[in-house]
Symmetry: C2
Subunit: 430 residues, 2 copies
Amino acid sequence: MIQARTLPGMMELLPEDQIIFNEMKDAIEGVFQNHGFFPLDTPAMENLEILTAKGGGETSKQIYEIKGSKRDIGLRFDLTVPLAKYVALYFSDLEFPFRRYHIGKVYRGERNQKGRYREFYQCDIDIIGHNKLSLYNDGEVASVMADIFKELQLDYRFHYNNRKLLNGFFESLGISRFTETLRIIDKLAKIGRDKVTEELLELGLEEGPIQRILDFIAIDGSNDEILERLKNLGIEDGGYVEGLHELEKVYRIMTELGVPKERIHIDLSITRGLDYYTGTVLETFLKDHENLGSICSGGRYDDLAGNYTKQKLPGVGLSIGLTRLFFLLQEENLLPKTAEKKISAMVLPMKGFEDQGIEILKKLRDAGKIVICHTESGKIGKKFQFADRMNIPYVIVIGEDEIKSGRFSLRDMETGDQEQLSLDKIIEKL
Amino acid sequence: MIQARTLPGMMELLPEDQIIFNEMKDAIEGVFQNHGFFPLDTPAMENLEILTAKGGGETSKQIYEIKGSKRDIGLRFDLTVPLAKYVALYFSDLEFPFRRYHIGKVYRGERNQKGRYREFYQCDIDIIGHNKLSLYNDGEVASVMADIFKELQLDYRFHYNNRKLLNGFFESLGISRFTETLRIIDKLAKIGRDKVTEELLELGLEEGPIQRILDFIAIDGSNDEILERLKNLGIEDGGYVEGLHELEKVYRIMTELGVPKERIHIDLSITRGLDYYTGTVLETFLKDHENLGSICSGGRYDDLAGNYTKQKLPGVGLSIGLTRLFFLLQEENLLPKTAEKKISAMVLPMKGFEDQGIEILKKLRDAGKIVICHTESGKIGKKFQFADRMNIPYVIVIGEDEIKSGRFSLRDMETGDQEQLSLDKIIEKL
């Protein structure tokens, strides 16, 4: 006998939780579709050279590789690399701007720890342009995610910034190592001000500029106040001016597309450590649960697929880490409690009346009801218990009397009340 | 630069095909849910010892294994083994009969050939009992699949048989090596009568019994005629009698649950080569495309999880190979042509009127329409061409005149007609 067990770091749910998980997934997909995004579904396996094209990075060290194949094959660690490959491969078949969503599992051989998964769902939307892509798209993807969080009834807040603005600011301080600086700043919430200062000193920055950076990213207030203060700094660096224009414009577009102002927080400490972002960057936190980390992140990039094609493909995208979000919500008792596709009744034929039970089952199903029929032998008490444990609200008993009279016993499992009703009345009631 | 390519044997679709594929998948899932099945979604990776517990077999040779992990890990090759593990692992949390559906990707390192995939979707339903499970469930799972094929508008036919009947018949001939005999007979359609005879001779059967087997599995006629002939053979072997009773009863239940009689064909040559089936066996063929092979198969088994638990868990299940089915239908031009969640209009603001375009977009979306807004710079002709190629039926032009008058140009992309309409009228029209 082999012990039944599931690998650590993998999500596996009991049916009632799986239903809620799937409803969240379906809600997300519905919003994506209603905003005119197309579905993609690429393979979980890719050529390893595709997956590692960007090189370096924590994530590519976590790739699961396949044994003993003629080719070097790995499992995807995100949905962006497969998108880049896809767009490069099918470039001439696609229309740009190309709007796609992708909800799928990704794999990372992470150290096993709380809140980290080795297999997890990502829910991505991206809009990819050919050569150019207007800033309206940055606002669009954020507004789609806002609609999702509204539907999931989450108390969210976008923390929103612009990389050009940050880089322009660094430039104005004479700092050239943008990416490294950004990566260190990105860790501020995790490692604190002192450790960030230390790492920036190690990188070669001087104390004056470091202090100015820390003051800059701490600028706070209402969004309008922050924008005003950023203007009043009088920085004339081209990147800074452009970044500030983008920050303000995308903020305005988000609100025009219905994202409530109070759901957006311009947060100059948000950098998204990954080096491919070039403009808008965004993270999403749950109010009063900011410590849980970002539940939806992404931004603007200038060149999606430069590793695979000469075509210049700028884009903007956001991604929800659904598996992690689900467990966070479960832990905090914040899971939505809807279950539309539930069983509404169980037909329970007495011994010898199974065929009549099946007949009633068929009629109820033809009337659009979600119904099952209990046809196993055994004690009737256990069968009612089964219905009770399955949270089935009604049981319809079928026996000799019922068949003769054409009226069936409908038991309300909540109250225990039992009524004799015609099938039409039962259909009405369910 | 790395060449963008997708691994052979993996499904990857262009957006318009992906939409159809997803609609088929959603239709299948909807029918599963409407019949009171619960969703499961287990990890793609499992401990290798779980995957190989059954031992031997072609399929377990095709397992993709993961490199360099502390544990021996493989990718699942079907959804039945993960179900067995799941039911054994969570036995005490589940209610029986346990009705689950699972739509997910499975992986097989097959030789790359037409119609074979290395990653493909299976859509499974199973009903698992504890210690016993009534025959009504055999009819139930078949009727669910029938509802799916009806919804997908497929001209299908169930080829249906019973293992007990076959084994009982072999027993009556003095043949004891049931499984090997079944495996050889299972190849009849592929390798022909002569080769089957040859292999049965090699197995040690004599010519007389082989002839009788071949005659038996060739019994044809209407279902009622076949049942009559099987009764008239006068075989008194206990297994045969029981198998015949099951064959007849499940046939009747299927029809009671709405499967049209002409969609069911009792076919005594159907054996399902895998040795774990113990009663009902079923395959599904598309009319006039029987050469494409079975698109939905399965049956009754006595002991789902004997490798992982002492609990006796009999069950019955059927599985659609969706990826293969999709490509078969595509090849034969039989794909359903519905696309509900399509973009119904594109808002096209003139230069400088993007914000007004966004405003109209927002209003149309609030009215429940699936609409996008084209905010890129460029020639207007190219933008109409984009809408045309995307099969978007209407374009709403927003410019100075439109904003002043409050009436917008709605172009019908099919006819080229252009009307000036208020927003309310446009919403009505879409």
